[in-house]
Symmetry: D2
């Protein structure tokens, strides 16, 4: 099975490179008769687009989505929905330097090793721009989940070494970091500004909470709900780890500390993060992803060229200093896709 598809019953296939003709997605298996207009999708894409603040890249991407199939009279028909974002023309000369060298932290080397050929323009298929297709597909899943009463919310929980100490969900969209703690967000911005001035970048942690999921969702053994979420999250280029509930902290806990005991009103704690044995408990699903610092930095780094000769490289241009705020809608989109897919699988099991 080729690697650009995801999901079983609600299934997407993305296509496109950063500087080819377009990026986009085909979404198959969408429930018929759902009202869907381009603005539903555009709203989510706008959260991911560049240029939202001084810590994100000021690049202009024509991120205007078009629906080219699967909709009739403003409703889904049950046939594949194709969503496309055309790329604008790029200056090929801009890539003369990276054409022959491997940028540290980027997939330049690995793509060439894998395919023997590489579209070096703007990272090609490995560009973060590929996630636009995921966000677009996720926007459809989000609409279906809203009808089920499921709400998916991600935010920056840590960045540049600064940890959020309060959880204020209403504040998330009101700070440039999409952090859940506006005070922490202010400190994050200060630190990021400093680090960016040193031509460097920072990482962070994005946390996601999913409310309203019915108990009983998830397919043991291999397609556990958390296993699929982990797959979805680590399939994002910047993500280097994922943990559920207490996560890595569970390693140092005892059973009596970690076990979520039950009373008549439900679970007393949620160390499991809302999933036990791969199946949702009905409590909030909570997970976190580790986000590596942005690879493109304008300070000299050691690398080699195509001939293996050692070289120094500086990735000029204005890049994101911290990808977390733009990753937030992508994490949400991937979570929506997994949850919606599992709702369909559960329905099939009992059909």
């Amino acid at each position: 099975m080729a690697g650009s598809s995801f999901g079983h019953l609600f299934r997407l296939t993305t296509f496109g490179e950063s500087h080819g003709g377009a990026v986009g997605v085909v979404v198959d298996g969408v429930t018929p008769q759902l009202e869907l207009v381009e603005q539903d999708i555009q709203d989510q894409l706008d959260r991911r687009k560049p240029g939202q603040s001084f810590i994100t890249t000021p690049r202009k991407e024509p991120d205007t989505v078009q629906i080219l199939s699967g909709i009739f009279d403003g409703k889904t028909t049950g046939t594949p929905i194709m969503l496309i974002l055309y790329n604008s023309d790029a200056d090929p000369a801009a890539y003369d330097e990276i054409k022959g060298m491997f940028r540290p932290g980027h997939a330049d080397y690995t793509y060439l090793k894998k395919y023997g050929i590489r579209d070096y323009r703007g990272s090609g298929r490995a560009s973060g721009r590929e996630t636009a297709g995921r966000v677009a597909a996720g926007a459809i899943a989000r609409k279906l989940l809203a009808r089920r009463g499921v709400d998916v919310l991600a935010y920056t929980g840590r960045a540049a070494g600064v940890q959020c100490e309060k959880y204020m969900p209403d504040q998330i969209e009101h700070n440039m970091l999409r952090a859940c703690d506006p005070d922490a967000a202010a400190r994050m911005m200060e630190r990021i500004a400093e680090i960016r001035d040193r031509n460097d970048s920072v990482g962070g942690i994005v946390e996601c909470r999913i409310r309203g999921v019915d108990p009983g969702l998830g397919e043991p053994v291999f397609d556990k709900l958390d296993a699929q979420l982990a797959h979805a999250m680590v399939s994002l280029g910047a993500v280097k780890g994922v943990e559920f509930g207490a996560g890595f902290a569970a390693a140092d806990m005892t059973g009596s500390e970690h076990n979520d005991q039950m009373v008549a009103a439900g679970f007393v704690t949620n160390n499991a993060g809302g999933i036990i044995g791969g199946i949702s408990t009905g409590t909030e699903i909570v997970f976190r992803v580790a986000v590596k610092p942005v690879s493109s930095i304008a300070r000299p780094q050691q690398t080699v060229d195509l001939n293996g000769t050692e070289r120094t490289i500086k990735t000029e241009g204005r890049h994101d200093a911290c990808i977390c705020p733009r990753l937030v809608p992508v994490v949400e989109a991937m979570a929506c896709l997994v949850i919606e897919d599992h709702y369909k699988r559960q329905a099939a099991l009992f059909a």
Copy 2:
């Protein structure tokens, strides 16, 4: 797609409950003409079996594997290999208490919510015994990988709050924890003994290193090598998180710290954990999984029964106090399955 299968080209389907007739696995897509005898598989199963030390459950499981198909004259034929481990008779009376109550930390509640029916005997399908099928299939993948020069090695890196400080691979199979540091292992044992005496259990971290993988393995976009490994690892019931290379520590690093720079001899560092853009770099693949403390503990815990009435439960019997040493061969098996599958996918791409 039903949830008991894993892999695309090297594909396994497990079956069986803890106290049904048998557990086992069907492995399809195995390279023909590979020499394979039951001992190849038994060797790995023996590493997973209960009763290896005082920290693991002394339960007796007749973990003797039989090959029932796919082998002729001692060699694989390319047809499905069915591996089976029969269950011995259990005393049904032993489950009278848990039959009507949900054990904290176990999948009792979620299975019942999902299926509306539950085989409560020994956790049924959610039993760790299901992983015997994975280990059996992994043993075949391991043989194929050995021919490629790929070596997969896991070990306990942390348990009961004690961290390994040395990496001595030769010592792993010589201590009861399968820890990479024999001194740390001794301290772990002490702490586990104490905690077990308080009728409690501990968690830990299992680390895995994969050497000899060629660069270029992994299928972007969704089937990145790390995404598939994450899926595989989190599909293990006790695993609550996974991280690659620097992992969660990357969240606090800057780009200049995290980027693995290159010189003529290769990558200078390995913060990426051997995978960039979802594709292997050719350096060692390194990941860690967070292992929750064993859920079965013999101290009273709050729970509810099938009617929602609050009850107290004590899971008597001798259980594992720390599952890490028995999880080590399972983590290795899952890693072997993912890597072998990707070798086949890469071959198909260029065929």
Copy 3:
């Protein structure tokens, strides 16, 4: 994806060779809480077993099925159901001749070319015995379909050049051919007896009718209901063709003859065979499969040995003279599997 699995949501994986340890099947995705006992499955297997009449092979196969997982308290639990039929010991000396030669009409040559190794005992994996697993899985699907009011009925429509002229469904199980016309069945038996006395075999046509399927089942574009049925049928070793409704006769019809016009009461005709655009119309689904004559015949035939040297071969032993009556339950089983799978897919679409 390895080739021994079939279906998407109701999914089976068969394993086993004619003379290995066992043949069987793992069925995943079965609706929970269905009452299921071994006799439900045995009833269908008994219709497929050898030795039912003088035209079928008198070989004794211990076709007694055992359920080894997925059932608790007499009900399905939603976890994989493993069904196994152990093979009895065979005399390896019996295969000394075919070991080195390719039997005409058999997969001996092609298996060796594909795998470079061949289990020559009783055709190995290519044995008709593999279909026992399909029939076993189909018996479960049949029970689920019965609850939906769907009835699947196959029968011999033609054999040894004799065509059924009446459709008497009640007579099907009362003649050795499982023909829908008892008079034609008598003539078929006469001709088959003659041909068998000349050490030869015959082919025929098996027809299948599926009643009670709701309109709207089937997934355009590639997974049309008829496309999946065609896939299922041609995956049977003896089947060389399949046609729906008017089938090949449609090639000579005009549009005005072939189009099924509609009146208030429904479709006037059923040339489409109950499927239009790959989706069920709600009328009876009708298809036919072409069954090749049995390949094993006891008259001398030309072949080559492993060295390419020309040889003469006679497949001695008592073989089926006409496989149609034993294929009838297999065709039904495969049809049940496809229909049940599509019911689940349709439920998922609207979930």
Copy 4:
């Protein structure tokens, strides 16, 4: 798994309706470094396009393909190739009549029953125009197969009741029917002209021959090469049957007649059609598909409207009188896709 994807390793996903924004296809798993330009694909699309002769519809479709991803410097990169054909604007008023009625032979009724919503413009997703995406993807597979020495050739073998009696492959592209016998083609044209003048249409048989396939291709048990070809062929809306080699004629043959005996030079006959036990023999693969007469005819037919009221309908406009010549490149494309996919599977098996 949603129904608009086909193939395992060489995998396509089509999208689009007749009168939506576009039709097209995403092809994933394409071998990297293959030279590919739009003209390679356009050449095959031109064979499928309308208006090639007086028996095909004179509708103008802007069947100009664009490659929007997956190509760099004129070569495939191994990433998904997206091929798109934009639709031109249609006059919505043209569909006022069919909007409320079910056209006999069309999928109008079944789509509405399935989805509860229907894009009635030009048959929507059920339009033959969807096959443009298949032909486009098939053109890529064809290029890969050419490098392997595999040649796929289809042609009209029968139409309007006239049978080809000669096999002259060089003549196929030189007559309007794409028949393999130019004299038969002339008689076909005469009969079709007569029948079209009576506002009726005709069916036929398309035959396909595949040369150069290595022995050993095909995945028993369920993914037999012929089973996959049958799936592929019956997934074409106009196809009502498929047969391999002797096909339905095998039903009346004896084993001694049907078995393909072997001599040192190879198989003496090819009744199996080049596939035994689901695996290619290395001889020519031969199959035939039954093509139903075109459903759109301009003579009055009985039908019902959305309320179930009986109505008379006449499908005006100029439609194909015989779809066979336009189906020929589609049959070839689907065959190419199946064969290429199996080459990749075979490579993976031995990787």
